[in-house]
C-alpha cells in the first residue's frame, strides 16, 4: 500500500473510532460509566507498536476527539499523545502474556488521563467545579475499560499475526 493511502486509512480508522465513542459507546454505559475506547486503542498500540506509533495514533485520535468534545481544544490531543508516548516507551518492560498486566496498565493510564484532563480544565477555567460523582464515574470508566482492554489487545495481536501469517506449505512433488 502506498504511504499516502496508508495515512488516509489510518485517519479514517481514527475518525471511525471517535464516531463509535460518541455514538455507540454511550449506550454501553454501566451505572453512568462508559469505557474510553480511544484510550484503550492508544494503550494497546503503545503496548504492541511502541512509542512512535502510539504517540502518532494518540495525537490523531485526540485531534478527532477535540472536534466533538466540550473540553477546550487540544486537551484530548495532548493527553492521548502523552499517554501513548508513556505507555509506548515502556512497552518492552511490560509482560503482555498475563491478561492482568495490560488491564492494570490501562487502569493506571486511565487515572492519569483523568487527572491530566481535570488539571487542564481547572487550569483553563479557574471556576471549574469538580464533584465526587465525576471522579467516581472516571474511576468506574477506568475499571470498565480495564476489563475490556485485554480483549482489545488479543484482537490486535491476532490481526498482527494474521498479517504476518506464512503462506500454506506446498506438498513436495513425489513423481
Amino acid at each position: 500500500m502506498k504511504p499516502w493511502l496508508w495515512r488516509g486509512v489510518k485517519w479514517a480508522a481514527a475518525i471511525l473510532l471517535v464516531v463509535c465513542q460518541v455514538t455507540i459507546v454511550p449506550s454501553w454505559s454501566l451505572f453512568g460509566c462508559k469505557p474510553d475506547l480511544p484510550l484503550m486503542v492508544v494503550v494497546v498500540i503503545g503496548l504492541t507498536a511502541g512509542l512512535r506509533g502510539a504517540a502518532w495514533w494518540g495525537g490523531v485520535i485526540g485531534l478527532c476527539l477535540d472536534g466533538v468534545s466540550l473540553a477546550p481544544f487540544g486537551v484530548h490531543t495532548v493527553l492521548l499523545a502523552g499517554a501513548g508516548a508513556v505507555v509506548g516507551s515502556a512497552h518492552l518492560q511490560v509482560n503482555k502474556q498475563y491478561l492482568m498486566v495490560p488491564a492494570l496498565v490501562f487502569f493506571v493510564a486511565s487515572l492519569a488521563y483523568m487527572a491530566g484532563y481535570l488539571f487542564l480544565e481547572v487550569l483553563i477555567y479557574p471556576n471549574f467545579t469538580l464533584k465526587a460523582n465525576v471522579l467516581g464515574r472516571g474511576v468506574g470508566g477506568a475499571v470498565y475499560g480495564a476489563a475490556l482492554v485485554p480483549w482489545v489487545l488479543k484482537g490486535f495481536q491476532w490481526m498482527e499475526g494474521w498479517g504476518k501469517r506464512p503462506p500454506p506449505r506446498r506438498r513436495a512433488w513425489s513423481g
Binding site: 460518541v22 455514538t23 481535570l118 464533584k131
Partner: protein, 271 residues
C-alpha cells in the same frame, strides 16, 4: 364378368349395425349381466393397481421436485420475512419518532421565544463532562448560551457553536447552573449539576418552605433561561443543625442519556 357379391358383402352393414345396437344394449343393461360386471371390476382393479404402481415409481421424483419447490419457496419466504421484519422496525421507528416530534412540537415555548427542533448526533466522549452535540449550528442562527429544552423540561445550554453543529452542556454537569423557583412556595435558588443523575438546589435558607415532590421552574433571573420552564422535582430535603442552608436533591425531568430530539429556544427579537 363381374364376381357375384358374397352374402357377407351384401349384409355387412346390417351386421355391423346389429352389433352396434347389441353393444349399446349391453352397455345399458350391463348391471344385469354378471360377465360384464366382472370384466369391469377386473379392468378397474388393473387400472387401480397400475396407477398405484406408477405412483410408487414416480414418488421419489415427485418428492425431489417438491423439495426443490419447497426450498425455493422457503428462500422466498425467508427473504420476504426479513424484508417485512425490517419494514416493521422502520414503521415502528417512524411512529416513535413521529410521536416524539409531535410531543416536542406541541410544547409551547415561553413567551418571546420560538422552539426550533434539533437532533442529538453525538454524546460527550468522556466520563467527566455531561453534554452532547446537536445538528444545528451558526448557520441556523444558534449562538452560545442559547437554551436547550424538551417538552419535559430544560436540557441545558449551548456551550460552543460551529458551522452546522453545536455542543450542549447538560444541566447535570457540575459547571452548568440555572436559577430556579419552587412552583408552590416561590422560594428561589440555584440548581447545579452533580455529575450524577441528580442535581442539587443551592442557596436555600433552612427556614424556607421546600418539600419533597415540589416542582422547580426556571426563575428567569440571570437572563439566560426564560421564566417558567420545567427543571425538575425535589427528591430529598435534608436539614442539618450545622448548616444554615438546606441540602436539596433535585431529580431533573429530562433523562439526559436518552435524548434524541431537543428544542432550541430562539429569542424572537433575534429572528
Amino acid at each position: 364378368m363381374a364376381a357375384k357379391p358374397s352374402l357377407w358383402q351384401k349384409s355387412r352393414l346390417v351386421v355391423l349395425a346389429g352389433a352396434l345396437i347389441a353393444v349399446v344394449i349391453l352397455v345399458f343393461q350391463a348391471e344385469r349381466v354378471p360377465v360384464v360386471n366382472g370384466f369391469r371390476d377386473g379392468v378397474r382393479l388393473l387400472a387401480k393397481g397400475g396407477g398405484a404402481a406408477w405412483s410408487g415409481v414416480t414418488y421419489p421424483f415427485r418428492l425431489v421436485q417438491q423439495v426443490v419447490v419447497m426450498h425455493e419457496e422457503g428462500a422466498y419466504v425467508r427473504k420476504e420475512l426479513q424484508r417485512l421484519r425490517q419494514e416493521n422496525i422502520d414503521v415502528h421507528e417512524t411512529l416513535r419518532a413521529y410521536q416524539r416530534l409531535e410531543k416536542l412540537l406541541a410544547f409551547q415555548p415561553p413567551v418571546g421565544y420560538r422552539g426550533v427542533p434539533a437532533s442529538v448526533v453525538a454524546y460527550e466522549p468522556t466520563n467527566f463532562v455531561g453534554g452532547c452535540m446537536i445538528d444545528r449550528g451558526a448557520k441556523d442562527g444558534v449562538f452560545p448560551a442559547m437554551v436547550v429544552m424538551t417538552a419535559d423540561g430544560v436540557v441545558g445550554r449551548v456551550l460552543a457553536v460551529s458551522g452546522g453543529t453545536s455542543r450542549v452542556a447538560f444541566l447535570s454537569d457540575p459547571n452548568c447552573r440555572v436559577s430556579v423557583l419552587v412552583e408552590r412556595s416561590r422560594v428561589m435558588g440555584i440548581v447545579a449539576g452533580t455529575g450524577g443523575r441528580e442535581c442539587e438546589m443551592l442557596y436555600v435558607s433552612a427556614d424556607e418552605d421546600v418539600q419533597e415532590g415540589d416542582r422547580l421552574l426556571t426563575s428567569g433571573q440571570g437572563g439566560v433561561y426564560p421564566k417558567g420552564l420545567l427543571v425538575g422535582r425535589v427528591s430529598k430535603v435534608e436539614r442539618s443543625s450545622s448548616s444554615i442552608m438546606l441540602l436539596i436533591r433535585v431529580e431533573p425531568f429530562v433523562k439526559f442519556s436518552r435524548l434524541e430530539e431537543v428544542l432550541l429556544a430562539f429569542p424572537l427579537r433575534n429572528l
